[in-house]
């Protein structure tokens, strides 16, 4: 009986979380007359909202921009973050302790605080309206360094020694010994970074005005701000939001095993 109550409560909670998303997904397939209803099924399913959304703004281009920017940022964070984490965890050099402290300190600085100096720098570099402006500020990530460093500290020293005796240099040790062992933390960093880069709105709004360079959430924001909130406008906006959400959900579905494993081992809360 207690178990049944438990499942009912969990079920209600799941519905509370899932219903808005499912409603959004269902509404994108509804005709304007049905948009206001709470039903999760469309009487006459249509792809018209997607067609409208695609026709009114360059969402295809924005999707490609977002994929390119988020993927580049994610790969950069994995490569540079793991290299920095490896050095901080396993190499002896003067100032290592200070660098570790600075890395933690960076996490304490709110992003809003560095927004204006970074913007000024991008303007000075002449990178406004470029991919560089969207990518460069995010290629290093202190949280990624900390997560990976924590994992690399647990790799036995003898494995590194063995690799050195086998003839490997530091970069080869990192990418051929540490990376295969670090699938879970790398997946966690990849998901967190990709989601962060994919959902970023404020920074692209500041540094990109050219519609052809806009990312998906940026274009969606611009798109949502115009055209009013009536049923005819709402459904295409929700369709755009679906395009934004689906890649993240797909990526999470594939990587969730590593993600949960790593969250459990590193104690990070999602």
């Amino acid at each position: 009986m207690r178990r049944a109550v438990f499942y009912v409560v969990l079920g209600l909670a799941a519905v509370a979380f899932l219903y808005p998303f499912l409603w959004m997904a269902a509404t994108t397939f509804k005709s304007p007359a049905e948009v206001g209803g709470l039903s999760l099924l469309a009487d006459q399913p249509t792809l018209e909202n997607y067609r409208l959304m695609w026709a009114r703004a360059p969402f295809g281009r924005a999707l490609i921009n977002s994929l390119f920017v988020a993927t580049t940022i994610t790969l950069s964070v994995l490569v540079f973050g793991s290299a920095a984490a490896y050095a901080l965890a396993r190499l002896e050099f003067p100032g290592r302790g200070t660098l570790n402290t600075v890395t933690v300190a960076v996490l304490l600085v709110p992003a809003q605080l560095t927004l204006i100096p970074t913007y000024t720098l991008i303007v000075e570099l002449g990178w406004i309206d470029s991919y560089a402006a969207l990518i460069a500020p995010y290629v290093f990530n202190a949280m990624a360094i900390l997560i990976l460093r924590q994992f690399f500290l647990q790799v036995p020293r003898s494995l590194m020694d063995s690799a050195r005796l086998d003839g490997m240099g530091e970069l080869r040790i990192l990418f051929t010994v540490f990376w295969p062992l670090a699938k879970a933390p790398l997946a966690t960093v990849a998901i967190l970074t990709f989601m962060g880069a994919w959902n970023e709105v404020l920074w692209p709004l500041l540094v990109v005005r050219d519609e052809q360079l806009m990312t998906l959430p940026q274009l969606l924001t611009v798109f949502s701000l115009g055209g009013g909130a009536g049923p005819r406008q709402l459904a295409p906006k929700l369709a755009a939001a679906m395009v934004l959400v689906v890649p993240v959900v797909v990526a999470y579905t594939f990587l969730q095993r590593y993600f949960i494993e790593s969250m459990a081992s590193t104690g990070i809360k999602g």
Binding site: P156, S158, L159, D161, S162, A163, R164, L165, D166, G167, M168, R172, V177, P180, L181
Partner: protein, 367 residues
């Protein structure tokens, strides 16, 4: 293959010196065992030879080449680690061949060497398994195979059997000795295990506090330890020690303590110990004590605390003048615990140490 030499090698970690004045020459094809307690510097010496640890001062040579400051990959050494250090994401075959692939050895040659090592180590059935699918002994053999296929100038073993159970340890010890003799590669082997130290090495190097205490054939070190530390460290059960003084009786020397009087071989070096009346330590190995039928002035009297029957031998633990003494005697009828017993000492087999721990009966250190 090559010989190895350390010349006045020193290693400091910050303000702590862990190895000092280390001089050792290992001949081509020789197997030398470094033995000592935890923190004596034996693993550090191995790591300095491998290039995994820098040398604070001194010179390390492999063959004619000075390798003191060369990176590990340029030293032509292969090492077997205590925890095996196998790459968990690679199969046994890939683990064994990785070093060769990185050195761009032709594929056919890699295949030949892997088959050769697998055959010697009986690894053929496990070559396509990953380390986690193998037992400790199989993993250890993979680690040995990885070292063998490299055909290095020097093999280094850093306590390779410590993680195995007793039975497997015995078997692997035998396999390592066999393999080393078969390939004839110069080998340095670090252990704290008595059995490995005594049975594996052509020579034994006993270390304490970063210094060499004695070098010699295992049996020579066992029979003629040059210091109290070596005497107590080599041998299981360990040597028994009794404190007392030396007295001269005409042309004879007698060790006298509360529990025992023993005639000791006459040596000129004993004169000063007699004159100074310093406390000296008598050492006698358990197998050189025997149950005496009749207690006499030259027997050690005490109370039997415990009798451990090991099969052919029985270890008698005897409490004598507040000290625990162990005698290893042939198994047979033994007194019950609590009984008074007398142990006779073979005076030709005793060791005598001065207050500073040096041997009073050996003329010089066997270094």
């Amino acid at each position: 293959m090559a010989d190895v030499s350390f010349e006045r090698v020193r290693k400091d970690f910050g303000t702590t010196t862990v190895v000092q004045d280390f001089d050792l020459h290992v001949a081509d094809g020789e197997l030398v065992v470094l033995v000592g307690g935890s923190g004596c510097g034996k693993s550090t010496i191995l790591r300095m030879l491998a290039g995994l640890e820098s040398v604070t001062s001194g010179t390390v040579r492999i063959g004619e080449r000075e390798v003191t400051h060369l990176p590990p990959r340029e030293r032509d050494v292969a090492m077997v680690f205590q925890d095996y250090a196998l790459y968990p994401h690679l199969t046994a075959r890939e683990n064994i061949s990785l070093g060769l692939r990185l050195r761009k050895v032709p594929k056919a040659e890699i295949g030949r060497r892997v088959r050769w090592a697998a055959e010697i180590l009986e690894l053929e059935p496990f070559l396509d398994r990953k380390p986690k699918q193998m037992s400790g002994g199989q993993r250890q053999r993979i680690a040995m195979g990885r070292a063998m296929v490299r055909e290095p100038a020097v093999f280094l073993f850093d306590e390779p059997l410590s993680n195995l159970d007793a039975a497997l340890r015995g078997q692997m010890r035998h396999e390592i000795a066999q393999m080393q003799r078969r390939v004839g590669t110069t080998t340095l082997y670090v252990t704290h295990d008595q059995m490995e130290a005594m049975t594996l090495g052509d020579r034994l190097v006993v270390l304490d506090d970063g210094r060499i205490l004695q070098v010699g054939r295992p049996i020579d070190v066992y029979r003629a330890p040059v210091t109290l530390f070596v005497a107590g460290f080599i041998g299981t059960p360990p040597m028994n020690f009794l404190d007392g003084r030396l007295e001269r009786e005409r042309d004879r020397f007698v060790f006298v303590s509360d529990a025992l009087r023993v005639l000791v071989p006459a040596k000129r070096s004993l004169d000063s110990a007699v004159e100074s009346r310093e406390v000296v330590t008598l050492g006698v190995r358990p197998e050189h004590l025997a149950l005496a039928g009749v207690p006499g002035p030259l027997t050690l009297r005490g109370q039997l605390v415990l009798a451990e029957v090991l099969g052919a031998t029985t270890h008698l633990h005897v409490e004598a003048s507040g000290r625990r003494v162990v005698a290893a005697v042939p198994s047979g009828p033994v007194p019950v615990p609590g009984a008074a017993v007398a142990l006779s000492v073979d005076p030709r087999q005793v060791h005598l140490f001065a207050a500073d721990g040096s041997s009073l009966l050996l003329d010089s250190h066997n270094l």
